[in-house]
């Protein structure tokens, strides 16, 4: 997972599954960020641990935005009825 900070905005780029290990990593580096932008274009899937990590961040006051999530991200959020909870940005192409 690559990441860079621009003041209090953390941008991470997922290169694998958004699973338990990725979630733990994210929680470590997102500590005091105001916003976390998660670039998902190279990600394969997200599991409930990934969703929980995003929810925990959001609950602690951090805005979470998913960028170009693959269909299965939306599907998982829809299964858990959490589709409206996180921001999503889609870039054409």
């Amino acid at each position: 997972m690559e990441h860079h900070r621009n003041e209090d905005v953390l941008t991470v780029r997922l290169h694998r599954d958004f699973n338990l290990l990725t979630a733990r990593h994210l929680q470590r580096i997102a500590d005091d960020a105001r916003e976390v932008r998660i670039d998902c274009r190279d990600a394969r899937l997200i599991d409930s641990e990934g969703v929980m990590a995003m929810y925990d961040l959001q609950r602690s006051g951090t805005t979470v935005t998913l960028i170009d999530p693959p269909d299965i991200f939306r599907e998982v959020l829809s299964i858990l009825d959490l589709k409206e909870v996180f921001g999503v940005e889609v870039h054409p192409g």
């Binding site: 338990l20 959490l82 909870v85």
Partner: protein, 493 residues
């Protein structure tokens, strides 16, 4: 072939297990989306086991990957803390209000796979089963059922018999579709892709008869068993206009010769009991009836074929040894000994009584049985293969029935190795749990003979179960006595 993985309860195994599940699913024939869903379900389960099954201790757990032409199944076994996923439903409002996501993983799993089963195996731990069906294109999507037949005189056709290859798969599907419409029991035969995969994987081999103009008019195959060197003779079809010309006999002879040359130790047929035609054919070719399996097939598959039936269809197992039997040392429960000896005699086997030294000491049955549960989700039956004997065999069987309550299972079979001195004691326990005789399953697992018991979970009308051979009648009568059936046929005999 099963693939087994043993993993440590460490988060580092989650990614590799998920990767493997995805690639294995693709190789087994799943479309990308379905393989991804299966991988996600595996990710969720492995994560759950890693985090919660063994609190504070290092342990291992097992994954089994199993597939056939129509279904992929991943089985996760662990012996960690007791847990029942049904008792932990996901609650969205609790998640949003309190951050409590308990049950979220299982909610995702249930959406991602076609079937999810949880088996509590007592001392043997727990099993989670993920099933994904393999989709394929049905032959009816490409070929009309009423394609014109080749109309020719009866006597001016030369037939050519050959072993089938990948180029024949579409003709096989067309032939089945032309002759049976939608009613053929082996659904895989309507899907050319599945036939091709089975041939390439050496899961089966078959012969085809073509006319001198190349039209496919007959097909017959041997489907290799997955855990024993035997094969099921099946998928027989001959176009109506080409019947009574000895084609079935020529194909079967070629198949049995090929089976011998490939080293198979036996061949069997699963003859349905809505009519006796298949049973008569099997007997004509020297097969002997060994078992009557109640409610083996779901009845929807048989609409319009044979006697109309409103119940799941039972089958007679007919068997012929391709390598002759010699002497068999069999530990037979007294209540079934005479009948099983009759079956063995018909198969040409001499049954010897075990020496008294071989008898188990009273109470020496090990505490835990090791049982492999094979769930056939399509046919709604379960096979419990006892791999090592144990006192809790009935307890495990009843727990499985309870765990699979929501699956609509019609019957549970239990296979006990007949060369195991503990088989009579295990039979007693299973009979106390409502199991009755099914019969002998010769060389069915690892080339060993098994006594099969069964417990139908639905009511069956015995008058709708038609059998042909003397042995099949004897089996039916014995089973009927145990189930206290009252039938017209039995009253008359």
């Amino acid at each position: 072939m099963d693939i087994q993985l043993q993993l440590r309860n460490h988060p580092g195994v989650i990614g590799p297990a998920t990767d493997f599940a995805y690639k294995w699913g693709l190789n087994a024939g799943l479309a990308r989306q379905k393989a991804l869903h299966l991988a996600l379900a595996v990710d969720e389960l492995v994560t759950d086991v890693v985090q919660f099954a063994f609190p504070g201790q290092e342990a291992t757990f097992d994954l089994t990957f199993r597939f056939d032409l129509a279904t992929t199944e991943v089985i996760i076994r662990e012996r960690g803390e007791p847990f029942d996923p049904d008792r932990h439903p996901y609650d969205r409002s609790d998640a949003l209000a309190n951050g409590n996501f308990e049950g979220a993983g299982f909610e995702i799993i249930r959406h991602c796979v076609d079937d999810f089963a949880f088996l509590n195996k007592g001392w043997q731990g727990k099993e989670f089963r993920l099933v994904q069906h393999i989709e394929a294109e049905h032959i009816a999507d490409h070929y009309p059922a009423d394609a014109p037949d080749e109309v020719r005189g009866a006597d001016d056709i030369d037939y050519r018999l050959h072993f089938v290859g990948p180029d024949d798969v579409e003709d096989i599907a067309k032939l089945i579709y032309r002759v049976y419409g939608y009613s053929y029991v082996k659904e895989d035969l309507y899907y050319p892709d599945r036939i091709e995969r089975a041939l390439k994987g050496d899961d089966k081999f078959g012969v085809m008869v073509r006319t001198d103009r190349g039209r496919a008019v007959g097909y017959f195959a041997v489907l290799r068993s997955t855990d024993s060197e035997i094969g099921e003779v099946g998928e027989a079809v001959v176009e109506p206009d080409h019947r009574r010309r000895g084609l079935m006999k020529r194909m079967l002879e070629a198949l049995l010769d090929e089976s011998r040359s490939r080293g198979l130790k036996g061949a069997f047929g699963e003859a349905v009991t809505i009519h006796t035609i298949s049973q008569r054919v099997n007997q004509h070719f020297g097969m002997e009836s060994c078992a009557l399996l109640l409610a083996f097939h779901v009845q929807e598959r048989f609409q319009g074929v044979g006697k109309e039936t409103s119940q799941p269809v039972s089958v007679v197992i007919d068997f012929t040894p391709l390598e002759p039997y010699d002497t068999v040392t069999a530990y037979l429960p007294e209540c079934y000994a005479d009948l099983i000896r009759r079956v063995y005699h018909a198969l040409g086997a001499e049954v010897t009584r075990p020496s008294p030294e071989g008898e188990p000491i009273a109470g020496a049955l090990p505490r835990e049985a090791d049982i492999d549960a094979r769930i056939n989700y399509q046919f709604k039956n379960v096979e419990l293969v006892v791999e090592s004997a144990g006192d809790d065999v009935a307890e495990q069987a009843l727990q499985t029935i309870d765990d699979l309550d929501h699956e609509g299972i019609n019957v549970v079979y239990a296979d006990l190795p007949i060369d195991d001195p503990h088989t009579p004691a295990m039979t007693t326990r299973l009979r106390d749990a409502g199991f009755v005789l099914a019969g002998l399953m010769p060389r069915f697992h690892q080339e060993r003979d098994y006594l099969r018991l069964q417990r139908p979970l639905i009511d069956l009308d015995p008058d709708d179960i038609l059998v042909h051979s003397d042995l099949a009648h004897a089996l039916k009568s014995h089973i009927g006595d145990e189930l206290t059936w009252s039938t017209t046929e039995m009253k008359m005999s």
